[in-house]
């Protein structure tokens, strides 16, 4: 151990063991003929935030539900905190917190009552009332669950996942349906969990969420991990910036490529969407505009931007992530 200040110090309370929190190896899950997860592998280090990023139907939820023991793998292996989530479920479940996508609360139960019930399963839970307060639900403690708005139900669900002081939290789409303020409060809670040494595995189809929160991102599509790394690694895999524009699909790019500086890449990742990535400067933009003018090509939405995970996803899959 060195005394040097690390760029990314391990949060206080991080377990000393080097064993990863979650190891998924070649997971396959079929529902009849349909393959939901198709050979997915990932490793979640302890005391970090890990994001599974991908469009709806990519297999994120099935992966989470397999990790928490609600589904049996068709193939491959899953170890969570060193345990088999199905066979050793009784040992595993007191150590994890789970937020599923919807439902899961007695329709007749009141908000505070439900959180206190889930808290009572734990040996040493957080104070349910303070947690409600933190999540802006204190005034709704006596409100029946079915009268809560979708966002309020989401926040209660998050509270139920963390009230038992778990060492590992699974959050499936934790910010769906939240207004911006509640979304930011959820983000701050996830950051606080990480600060206190809790491992978080979350799923999202929001790039900004993964970019802001996650130490590690795995991009999932069609039941497989198609790229993974830190957000920075994924984004800089190509270049820092890019020029993007729309035009009619299938325009030959050879003429454009010949006039671009070395190290610059021009692609059409999706029909009608063109991306030029590399060292973007005013001259490059001018070259692109000149090329368009020569071809009498009227482009739409020409923009110079920082690359995001969204661009990475587009390049990898040829599709936009936003549903």
């Amino acid at each position: 151990m060195s005394d040097a200040v690390l760029a990314d110090p391990p949060p206080s309370g991080a377990p000393s063991t080097a064993e990863p929190a979650v190891v998924v190896d070649g997971l396959v899950r079929r529902y009849g003929e349909r393959v939901a997860v198709d050979g997915l592998s990932l490793t979640v280090p302890r005391a970090r935030v890990f994001a599974l990023l991908g469009p709806n139907g990519a297999g994120k939820t099935t992966t989470v539900e397999t990790c928490v023991g609600l589904r049996r793998p068709t193939g491959g292996s899953v170890r969570v905190l060193g345990l088999d989530p199905v066979r050793e479920t009784d040992d595993l479940r007191p150590r994890i917190g789970v937020m599923l996508q919807s439902g899961g609360v007695y329709q007749g139960a009141r908000c505070g009552e439900m959180l206190r019930l889930v808290a009572s399963y734990a040996a040493d839970p957080l104070d349910p009332d303070r947690l409600l307060e933190r999540l802006g639900l204190a005034s709704l403690a006596r409100t029946p669950y079915r009268r809560l708005s979708g966002g309020q139900q989401q926040r209660l669900s998050l509270a139920m996942a963390i009230v038992g002081r778990p060492e590992l939290v699974f959050l499936d789409e934790p910010t769906v349906g939240l207004d911006p303020q509640a979304r930011h409060e959820t983000w701050r809670i996830i950051e606080s969990l990480r600060r206190d040494g809790v491992t978080v595995l979350l799923t999202t189809h929001h790039m900004d969420e993964a970019e802001r929160l996650a130490d590690h991102v795995a991009i999932v599509d069609h039941g497989r991990v198609i790229a993974s790394g830190t957000p920075g690694e994924l984004i800089r895999g190509g270049a820092d910036r890019e020029v993007r524009f729309r035009a009619s699909p299938g325009v030959p790019l050879d003429g454009l490529r010949s006039r671009l500086p070395a190290g610059t890449v021009a692609t059409e990742p999706a029909p009608g969407v063109y991306v030029v990535a590399g060292a973007v400067d005013p001259a490059l933009v001018a070259s692109i505009a000149t090329w368009c003018a020569e071809r009498d090509l009227l482009v739409e939405g020409l923009q110079v931007k920082h690359r995001t995970l969204e661009d990475v996803f587009l390049e990898l899959t040829g599709r936009e992530l936003r549903a």
């Binding site: 599923l100 439902g103 019930l117 963390i162 038992g164 790039m207 802001r212």
Partner: protein, 278 residues
Amino acid sequence: MSATATGRVDPDDGAAMTGVDAGPGTFAPRPGRAPLTRMVANQTRMELVLMMRNAEQVMLSLIVPIGLLVVCTTVSFIEVDGDRADFFVPGILALAIMSAAFTSQAIATGFDRHYGVLKRLGATALPRSVLLGAKTLAVLAIEAMQIVVLCSVGLALGWTPSGEPLTAVLSVVALIALGTAAFCGMAFLLAGTLRAMTTLAAANIIWFVLLGVGGIAFPLSEFGGAQGLFELLPTAALSSGLRTVLADGEVVPWHLLLTLGLWAVVTLTAATATFRWE
């Protein structure tokens, strides 16, 4: 990072804080399962509160049996041999047990499953056996209430239970325990396999049919040749057994306990094999 990928700008991080985070260590992991007895007690109380809060369930388990007992005993539209209260109190007790342990339980469990409660709680520290056990304990608590209320109403209507008290109480407890097991097995069998709305319909229809042919409101002797078949129904076994003990003052016949026991074994085994948590 202040500008997000979608171009929205974060509010100042400090400004929107609700100020209840006690700082570092608030969420420090301290995992562990609560003692089993505490989980059973809390879960049972929750299930009981939810049942008492649900108007339809209170109606089915308490109001309808009390109303039927009063009407059947005081209005002579159904012919019975002997004292009316002596015939109807055991029958209505059997009905009440069926309402709570079968119909209410099936509907509540079916909707818990429909709304993902069973799945969600299956991902907490709560063992599934405790969840189903608590549902059964809550039913037993409701049954205790039903017995007190219905016996009080019966006594007010002139019911005179027969038999030696200790034997009668033991016999009644044995009958109700086996009957509850059989009805809960039926309830879990329906609720664990059918959709919630189908469970709701089926549980109500079966309740109504068994009210008619289960020896509750009509003596089974009125059904002629079908009597032998109907006597195999759990409701009939329970009502006949209760009547034998409470009206005739006799020891409960073994074949009735056997009938209930078989229903319990078969339905609970089938429910265990087929129950789907979501």
